[in-house]
């Protein structure tokens, strides 16, 4: 499925899931998941509510044990990888110690790390140098999130795992966050992040894993994922629209008509368009465009769910928040 069988560094993969499942009673949260991460990749983990992203990250960080299958991090067990500082992680559900200052907290984690970086550097890289003397329990949501990020980068960890890292950040902080993230990647680190901001995955990741119901549905670059969803969007105006005729077009995926305005999705835009022209139609204001990652993502998971994917992204986010609540 993936075209990146050969990582630049070769050797053991940074992370490998081999046929990993996690079952809670009747629920199969993660279902025979297999994947590999290579050194230097920035990988986004995408999936709707209940897709098994959080459970997968929890298992990668040794917070939970797989029911079956095996996870290796640099060829070692997740627990050992975490405790030897190979992984720096930031979880949505990770709390912070109250009643201490930001500097004290970051200093603590640096002390615990086998290869610590200077605390001032970490504070600067996480963009919280100005908060060093503030008490942790007196910070805003976005500030807290940046402190969590600082804890993930207190040492020279080779793998950075981030669960919804920019939640509660405003647009500007989000921008700054990804700028600092790119600096980490430039130093040869591997980054795995779960996100529900699809445009963020599109911009920040060079590889996307789409999961649904605990299974891996797609694995590729953002461009490949968009292609995988197959569809292109064709829009035009047409006088005397004949719905029955349009529905008969080849490779049609979806059709919307508003008076003379037609929007359709096609898995092969060339064929659809030629059929339209061959039938003698002369559409005006013709536009052919690729689907965004968001539609592609919805299309992929919808194919899997076998239900129509008209779920608005807002609803997706809302569901996701609820998922977070119950995880706590």
């Amino acid at each position: 499925m993936s075209d990146r069988e050969t990582g630049p560094a070769g050797g053991a993969p940074v992370v490998s899931f081999e046929d990993v499942s996690k079952v809670y009673g009747q629920v199969r949260a993660v279902d025979h998941l297999s994947l590999e991460l290579r050194r230097g990749e920035t990988v986004a983990f995408l999936g709707p509510n209940g897709a098994g992203k959080s459970t997968s990250l929890d298992m990668l960080l040794a917070l939970r044990k797989p029911t079956s299958g095996q996870i290796r991090v640099f060829g070692d067990s997740p627990y050992h990888a975490v405790k030897s500082g190979l992984i720096g992680a930031m979880l949505q559900s990770g709390g912070l110690m109250p009643e201490v200052t930001v500097r004290e907290l970051v200093g603590l984690m640096a002390k615990a790390h086998p290869r610590p970086l200077p605390v001032d550097d970490t504070l600067r890289r996480a963009g919280i140098a100005d908060l060093a003397g503030r008490r942790v329990d007196k910070l805003s949501g976005g500030q807290t999130q940046r402190v969590r990020f600082a804890l993930a980068i207190v040492g020279e960890s080779d793998l950075i795992v981030l669960d919804e890292p920019t939640t509660a950040m405003d647009v500007e902080s989000r921008q700054r966050f990804w700028d600092s993230m790119r600096a980490e990647v430039a130093e040869g680190r591997t980054v795995l992040f779960a996100s529900h901001y699809l445009e963020e995955a599109d911009q920040a990741a060079d590889r996307i894993l789409v999961v649904n119901k605990g299974r891996l549905l797609a694995d590729g670059t953002p461009a490949e994922i968009k292609k995988r969803a197959g569809a292109k969007r064709i829009s035009f105006r047409l006088d005397g629209v004949d719905e029955t005729f349009l529905l008969g077009l080849p490779a049609l995926v979806n059709l919307e008509i508003r008076r003379d305005q037609v929007h359709l999705q096609s898995s092969d835009s060339d064929r659809t368009l030629y059929a339209l022209l061959d039938a003698g139609c002369r559409p005006r204001e013709l536009e052919v465009s690729s689907l965004g990652l968001e539609q592609a993502f919805l299309a992929i998971t919808a194919q899997d769910d076998a239900v129509t994917a008209v779920t608005a992204p807002a609803a997706l986010r809302h569901q996701h928040q609820q998922e977070k609540e119950t995880v706590r």
């Binding site: 960080l61 979880l91 004290e104 200093g107 603590l108 984690m109 615990a112």
Partner: protein, 241 residues
């Protein structure tokens, strides 16, 4: 190890920054001793003022170890701080070790204050070894309650922990004969409690006797039981952190 000690140091700082905790653990026993410490009479065969010094020192130590820790541990699990530590490079045992170390250190002000009041306000006169035995038995006895706090904090949510520790605190105080000396049936029941035995070591030593072996045995049994309970609680909640 450095990480664990740093964590313990931060835990101590937190406790000392928390005024309410200091008032409850150090302020309350001292205030009670100031109010009642000059009363006349005898309890368990020693002067009341000497008994009450040991009793108040014990109360401050065990209430501090129990109520504060259980509440914090439960809350920190709920807030995800325990989870955050699990995904850090800190050794898995750091959290509990740091809590118990911090608890032992932060109980010292209360303990020292009450003993000083006993000596200079209550006028209790004792040879140096007796002072040391009293201080050490109360101090180490508090570890029983630190272990119990871990067991409770790991197993229950904060809103359950509050009434639970309050109930245990009351039982241990009243039936343990900490608030007032017991007699008759109450004493027979109370004898099995660690609080009773901690006070008993103190009063025995004040009365010129040695440290009763039975008291040490009972205290050790409670400690072992609560340490096991704490370990079971920590293990059984591994996947629910």
């Amino acid at each position: 190890m450095m990480g664990t000690l740093t964590l313990a140091r931060l835990e101590m700082l937190r406790v000392l920054r928390n005024k309410r905790y200091l008032i409850f653990t150090a302020g309350l026993p001292a205030a009670l001793y100031l109010a009642l410490g000059r009363s006349h009479g005898t309890s368990y065969g020693v002067e009341f003022r000497a008994f009450y010094m040991v009793a108040m020192a014990s109360m401050g130590a065990f209430s501090g170890a129990l109520t504060g820790n259980a509440q914090r541990i439960s809350q920190e699990r709920k807030d995800g701080w325990v989870r955050q530590l699990r995904i850090s490079a800190l050794p898995a045992s750091s959290y509990v070790i740091a809590k118990i170390l911090a608890s032992l250190v932060t109980l010292l002000p209360s303990l020292v204050l009450v003993l000083l009041l006993g000596r200079f306000y209550g006028g209790v006169q004792l040879p140096v070894p007796s002072w040391i035995i009293i201080a050490v038995s109360v101090w180490l006895g508090s570890m029983i309650f630190a272990a119990l706090a871990v067991a409770i904090g790991y197993r229950f949510m904060p809103d359950t922990v509050q009434p639970m520790t309050m109930l245990i605190y009351l039982l241990m105080s009243v039936l343990g004969g900490v608030w007032f000396a017991l007699g008759g049936t109450m004493q027979k029941i109370g004898q099995v409690l660690p609080t009773y035995q901690i006070v008993k070591i103190g009063t025995h030593v004040i009365g010129g006797g040695g440290v009763p072996g039975s008291a040490v045995a009972i205290i050790a049994a409670w400690l072992a039981a609560f340490v096991i309970l704490a370990a079971v609680s920590v293990r059984s909640t591994v996947e629910r952190i």
